[in-house]
Symmetry: C2
Subunit: 286 residues, 2 copies
């Protein structure tokens, strides 16, 4: 068995912390650090750095765009064992949540199991998208994570239309192009239903998503669901690969990263080694 | 049968519109018009007045305080029949909802049945209060209408403690004093439970509430629920009448007016006549 790439595990003397968190993306310019922008990463890193008086650099599972929410985002950071020993992680989480703004909260903070890497160990990312379609009134207290859509959306039609997308394909038609990055992904799930509020809800899972892919998939599907395109149109977009799907991107407001799945035990490191060795998804993903 | 007080029915040539609405109270200084403040009433009246090019003066069922939310608030306004005839009410509601800010939405807009008066015909007001107790993390996307409470709240203890409050009493201990106004109310329901998110939730109903009464009742009960006062304390406060309860007012953030109940048919006008003739609740109520 070959040794893992050095960056997959904490450096000597360091230990890794795994954190799950939620945020209302309306108040952030996305996850990723950006100059002069308020991002989730900047707020969380600033707070943890000040609190523990050490530099905190996070590695995240899903780099969400501006306006996209999360209920189950995951990141890790490495900390010297001597600093780790100063803290009870339950207390640390409670203090952090008291100091963070209301729009972001840590759900859990734990010692990461051996081989855990927030990004490279992940098996799949799970997203939810919600439309208030057909002039449905969006309740003010539930307005943050649902997007309006004027026409009625036909759930059965949309579920039929997305069938050809399931599986491993080159999703270039639905991705913002990045030089040198593959747009081959495995779409494991894309299911529409009515949620308990009557909104049209999509649950979308893949090993990973390229940039803006979930919103492009959802936007294109809703064109079919509203009756403006034939049921075979999504398959045509996929095989055409000409990025027309990208221009149909649904509003960020309706999108939420609801969870990231990981293997257990030795699978954590194995998964990360496979991904990094094969060069799959070596550039930022949504 | 005597004729109704003149203000209970629309003037000659006028007809009455009934509206149900929802709002996120975080963004408003309460319902009621106030100079230089953004209130729900000012936003709704301004919009409807501009849209229909007539003066719109609303009469509301429950004057909610700053920060208090609604999912089922009710108001009415009177409009000349000639102006009413210009509008399809379904279209009017859709246009209004497109122009209103996201934090307020009309749920319905209909011709009021004969004898309907948003305030005086109401049989009861129904409120919900939610606490995230015991260091529970408040999900950012659900943060608007739940208030934090550090200790664990004992639901059974609270349900036992509120029993003496049910029924018709002078609730002066839990009301902000207003000269000349009675604080006698009939508390019909005050029930605590765990909602689907695990929050401590109170459902509170009364014929009407005096100012700040729901939050005082909830705040005092939570003191018992956290183990800081004996189970008989609420009954003592009620009979003492010395307004200590008022200082225990729970945060507005956790409170939502979820609905207003009305009689049907002839009961609408009868109810309004009884209330106005007996002078019950002649001053603003929460």
């Amino acid at each position: 068995m070959s040794s893992p790439a050095p960056e997959l595990l904490p450096e000597g003397g360091f230990t890794r912390i795994r954190c799950e968190l939620s945020y209302d993306g309306s108040y952030f310019s996305g996850w990723n650090l950006q100059p002069d922008r308020r991002t989730v990463q900047s707020v969380v890193e600033d707070l943890l750095s000040r609190l523990m008086a050490i530099p905190v650099n996070t590695m995240v599972a899903g780099r969400t765009d501006a306006g996209v929410h999360a209920t189950g985002q995951v990141f890790h950071f490495d900390i010297a064992q001597v600093d780790r020993d100063r803290w009870n992680l339950t207390s640390l989480m409670q203090i952090a949540n008291r100091l963070l703004p209301d729009e972001v909260r840590l759900n859990s903070l734990d010692d990461a199991p051996h081989g855990f890497h927030a990004r490279y160990s992940a098996l799949r990312r799970n997203y939810r998208y919600r439309f208030a379609d057909g002039f449905k009134v969006i309740p003010p207290l539930a307005r943050a994570d649902v997007a309006p859509w004027q026409q009625n959306l036909n759930i059965d039609l949309m579920n039929a239309a997305v069938v050809p997308l399931i599986g491993t394909h080159d999703f270039a038609a639905f991705c913002r192009k990045r030089e040198g990055a593959t747009s081959i992904r495995t779409l494991e799930k894309f299911e529409w239903s009515r949620d308990s509020d009557g909104f049209a809800q999509a649950l979308v899972s893949a090993d990973a998503f390229c940039h803006a892919m979930v919103r492009s998939l959802v936007g294109a599907t809703s064109i079919v669901g509203a009756g403006h395109a034939e049921i075979g149109w999504l398959a045509e977009l996929l095989s055409g690969g000409d990025r027309v799907g990208r221009s149909l991107s649904a509003p960020a407001r309706g999108l939420t990263l609801i969870g990231v799945d990981y293997p257990i035990g030795a699978g954590l490191l194995e998964r990360a080694q496979v991904l990094t060795r094969t060069g799959v998804r070596s550039l930022p993903s949504e």
